[in-house]
Symmetry: C2
Subunit: 339 residues, 2 copies
């Protein structure tokens, strides 16, 4: 059932039927009712390919997925996707993943713009002065950043959590508990979120008249193994920290393993706070000693990204508005006063 058939059936022109269905005002209410009714009865659904060709709109949102033999997709992605999908589902919005060479995403971005494959994209794990953001702004494809870039000389839309504030609060709490040497096991500091977290910690220390020992800030990919290695390095080094802030629950697993292996204990010998993105399959309460966390649901962020992107596509939103979410600091058994 296509437009031509439907219009013939109704003895109306394609124009009128199309307009009636798309809510244009120059159709009488009675005609519109007839058309909408017939369309429903005959299960008419406009062919998206045709509509696409005519309008250039695809009704999909895109994501350029960095891949490569040595590239690991962040497990957080799945949770983010849960949220995104959950919102998108209600709006018949599909998500197109365009795999790209991690070292050359630009080609892919250009391709999806040239091909008009999607109406908007979102960008994740941004870095300072992120080239993708600049590129997209230049290409004119609507986009939304999950996270933030810095050092760009224009505004752009993003949604981010207050990483600096969260780690500032967490570090401040540790300082108040008497800790003087605080370690940070961070993610890749080429990414903004990690920079912000480190900044937060430094600010808390400075605020207390302390200074961060450069040896106490470690930046690694967020795996269990790396968490373990980093913790051992910190705890076996000189002036070992009495408290550690950790950028992910997964790394914390490794930290806890290291602590145990060294015959130490949490929180007796080491206070530990980690950032929790709220995974269904690994919870801070389930650590041997329940883990204190800075908590923010990455899933909720996914839903919000979808929501804003949908609004953007519908033309309801246009500005370069940034949105920063507060982060909960949840205290559990893993922290204690310094000895």
């Amino acid at each position: 059932m296509n437009l031509k058939q439907l219009s013939r059936m109704l003895e109306l022109s394609q124009t009128t039927v199309s307009r009636a269905l798309n809510g244009y005002p120059e159709v009488s209410e009675e005609t519109r009712r007839r058309v909408v009714d017939a369309a429903k009865r005959h299960g008419y659904r406009p062919n998206p390919s045709a509509r696409r060709l005519a309008t250039g709109k695809s009704g999909m949102i895109g994501y350029v997925l960095p891949t490569g033999a040595a590239v690991d997709i962040d497990p957080h992605f799945v949770e983010f996707l849960s949220g995104l999908g959950d919102y998108a589902r209600g709006h018949e919005l599909d998500l197109v993943l365009s795999p790209a060479d991690a070292d050359d995403q630009e080609t892919t971005y250009r391709r999806i713009v040239a091909n008009r494959q999607v109406d908007a994209v979102y960008v994740s794990s941004p870095r300072p002065a992120d080239r993708r953001v600049a590129l997209l702004a230049g290409l004119g494809l609507p986009f939304l950043v999950h996270g933030r870039s810095e050092g760009l000389d224009f505004d752009y839309p993003f949604i981010d959590i207050d990483n600096e504030g969260a780690f500032h609060e967490a570090a401040r709490l540790l300082v108040q508990l008497g800790h003087r040497r605080i370690g940070l096991i961070n993610g890749d500091t080429r990414e903004t979120f990690a920079i912000h977290r480190e900044r937060g910690v430094r600010r808390a220390l400075t605020g207390a008249g302390l200074e961060m020992d450069a040896r106490h800030a470690v930046s690694v990919a967020m795996t269990e193994e790396n968490g373990y290695r980093a913790a051992r390095q910190l705890l076996e080094g000189e002036a070992a920290p009495t408290a550690i802030l950790c950028s992910s629950l997964i790394m914390s697993l490794g930290v806890v393993r290291a602590v145990r292996e060294l015959g130490l204990s949490v929180p007796g010998d080491l206070s530990l706070i980690a950032h929790d993105d709220v995974f269904p399959w690994l919870k801070p309460e389930s650590f041997p000693v329940p883990l204190s966390t800075t908590r923010s649901s990455i899933r909720a962020a996914g839903a919000r990204v979808a929501e804003r992107l949908a609004a953007r596509i519908a033309g309801l939103e246009d500005g370069g508005r940034g949105e920063v979410w507060p982060v909960d600091l949840v205290v559990r058994g893993s922290i204690a006063g310094a000895k």
Copy 2:
């Protein structure tokens, strides 16, 4: 730059240019060279929307993503995606994720077929007599199943690992080590992979003249917390098992926690073997006691799925061929002879 312009520029018809570019034989080699050359020089790329409308092919593969507030996307998905993306990247194949109500995926499948959104789809986490498989076979959309369904009265293409064989081997090894009471902490037994694993274990026990205690087979969603609970339940129950097989590394984290909390040890009091899908962020070697595993890279499976799907789309593959991969049994410190 579109076809019309290019053909005018070359003083050829659109027909000829189109044919030259698409490798049809009825174009002289010289003309083809001229055309291809000019196309490259002017950066001509056929408009996919137009091509789609004309041919009905989209050059994308699809996946229906079950979502919902209570639905968690499997973290394995990310690794699978890494493999899929890695292959797809080289072929400019994009992946369309269509979020669907987890309880009504049929509507979404019908939609993507009606809309001709994708050239093929893959289906994951199949169950016995999976309705999606039957539906897709009926709708005529090319598809590939990752995993297997059972009890369908027709052949269909799939790629699966030998879950039954893997768990059979693992259980057999435990039996040979003298274990008589073997527990199984499994995933959702409504899914085929879990059924196969349980079948493998049962077969090993039966083969040794033993029988599986119904209380020793637990089926839960694969989270750390559930692994913990299941392990406690098993280890604190009557006739506690001396060995446990576990369907995922994540659940094993919980098992290890339970063991420790009960003052037991691996492998002294409990031998443990888990299935390892090979995550970059959590490795069996990194467990307090290195974990013995049945191992199969889910990432490799993703790449293979993309490869077969691409072949299918290109018309190079057509049958309902099933493909079963062997699974490695990797012995590490977590197993020992029964006391």
